[in-house]
């Protein structure tokens, strides 16, 4: 390295930078190395290594935790695209273990049972980047302040119902537009209301966007859902149960990848949506009891 100057790993820029490279892509939940290979073949930009997809976590109940490291390692060994894995909200030791495994991104996720109802992981302490869920601008900015290098909507995971992801994406965008319309001397009060730092609020008011990439997640099950979220302004899509709980995962996965790229071309969307077989069955979020909703975890 004699001809080069300074080299620094684990900086905010390289953490946020990997998320920049995932833009316009689809990150797919997988529970086996075989599924990871199918996802890669379909054109996923990354996979999320899990023991159970959210629909099964929802159906089976109990405490949902970080996956067994042997499964995470097997999935990392099966594909050459980035591999993400989930830790429980606030469970910084699960995060340390995932970092030690050399995972590419950690999702501090409300889909798992929270380990701490007050505090999230201090994500600045890690060299590996984190993504976190958010229902609105305040949550997004709080997670970024804690060191998240990427955010996503929470949606309502494991339902196949896109309604909550739409609500959360619109809520973040509306929050940003509102800040842009405020006078400088009104931003301190807005920051207080959002529970976020004034510095970050000022930055968003000036640039009109979050300082990190914002994906959609939670209930995306069809190519049309994926394109809807893109047209609402997200940078890319996480698809959880929607692919491997459907009748023809490879075909559906490819179609969702294609729809994410050509999100504003209805002729292409029509073509890729044809003959995909059975979608995941789905549960209307309206039919869930309040204690069954995951999105309220980790505010």
């Amino acid at each position: 390295m004699s001809q080069n100057g300074h080299v620094e790993t684990g900086t905010a820029r390289v953490k946020r930078g990997l998320a920049e490279m995932l833009k316009g892509g689809v990150i797919m939940d997988v529970v086996t190395p075989d599924q990871a290979e199918i996802a890669q073949e379909a054109g996923a930009v990354a996979v999320m290594a899990l023991e159970r997809v959210p629909a099964d976590i929802r159906a089976q109940g109990g405490v949902a935790r970080m996956s067994d490291p042997s499964l995470v390692k097997a999935i990392m060994g099966a594909v050459s695209i980035p591999v993400m894995a989930k830790c429980r909200i606030g469970h910084f030791v699960e995060a340390q273990i995932l970092e030690a495994l050399g995972i590419d991104y950690i999702d501090e996720s409300e889909v798992l049972t929270p380990a701490d109802e007050e505090n999230h992981v201090d994500k600045w302490q890690f060299k590996i980047p984190f993504v976190c869920g958010a229902r609105n601008l305040g949550e997004a900015l709080r997670r970024i302040s804690e060191g998240a290098a990427m955010v996503r909507t929470k949606g309502e995971a494991g339902t196949g119902d896109v309604v909550e992801a739409v609500r959360h994406m619109r809520s973040v965008s509306q929050g940003i537009r509102r800040l842009q319309g405020l006078r400088g001397d009104e931003l301190a009060s807005a920051a207080k209301e959002l529970g976020a730092s004034l510095e970050l609020v000022r930055e968003v008011a000036t640039t009109g966007k979050l300082p990190v990439v914002n994906f959609s997640a939670g209930g995306i099950a069809t190519p049309a859902d994926a394109a809807l979220m893109m047209q609402l302004g997200c940078d890319g899509n996480f698809v959880g149960s929607g692919i491997f709980k459907s009748g023809d995962p490879l075909r559906r996965a490819k179609a969702i990848v294609q729809a994410t790229t050509y999100f504003d071309k209805p002729e292409i969307l029509a073509e890729v949506s044809e003959g995909l077989g059975e979608p995941m069955v789905g549960i209307s979020t309206r039919s869930l009891r309040p204690e069954e909703l995951l999105a309220g975890r980790g505010v």
């Binding site: 900086t11 930078g17 490279m21 316009g24 990848v257």
Partner: protein, 192 residues
């Protein structure tokens, strides 16, 4: 406004960051997702992202032929990271049927430095753009392991070529666009 029209292959990846750098240099930029959008361009940026994803989309939407035709007709490429993988003559550690544009006589290995924890910000010496080092990011970066006789090496990282030029094509294994230093984009534009 310059008459030079530059496209960015916008199938997936950090299109926005390239657009910002190019627009800051006064260039008219067009996103390219369809063959017809290649018409009238003098340069095409193939951005960072996931090379296997871009490869699948190029195959599915029959873009390989139109891209090859456009390059044969004089289109120049600026490629970063995943883009450089697509531009190579040979890809190591790729998918068996991954698309190769063969724009430069280089052999590229994917994820050559390891996983995300090896990703780094680097002050890279690129004498062709000035004596001041260029701040860049290597993110799950590939390495250029072999270069043909017609390929000029402009910069190296960890003893492997990291920036190379062949004819009007400029291929980088790193990202100058996410740090925003415009000098490598300017070098590319000066050759159009």
């Amino acid at each position: 406004m310059s008459a030079v029209k530059v496209g960015i292959l916008a199938l997936q990846g950090d299109v926005r960051e390239h657009r910002q750098v190019l627009e800051s240099l006064g260039v008219e930029v067009r996103q390219v997702r369809l063959a017809a959008e290649l018409e009238g361009l003098s340069g095409l940026v193939i951005p960072g992202g996931e090379s296997t994803t871009m490869s699948r989309l190029i195959q599915r939407f029959d873009l390989l032929g139109p891209l090859q035709e456009a390059f044969a007709g004089g289109l120049a490429a600026l490629t970063t990271c995943a883009g450089t993988i697509l531009a190579a003559r040979e890809i190591r550690d790729g998918l068996p049927d991954q698309v190769r544009l063969e724009l430069l006589d280089i052999v590229v290995r994917r994820n050559a430095f390891g996983r995300q924890r090896e990703s780094a910000e680097v002050l890279l010496e690129v004498p062709a753009v000035g004596s001041e080092p260029v701040p860049v990011a290597f993110i799950r970066a590939p390495a250029i392991e072999e270069v043909g006789p017609g390929v000029e090496v402009l910069a190296s990282y960890r003893d492997e070529p990291a920036a190379v030029r062949q004819g009007r094509h400029l291929a980088l294994t790193f990202h100058p666009e996410i740090t925003g230093d415009p000098r490598l984009h300017r070098l590319f534009l000066s050759g159009l």
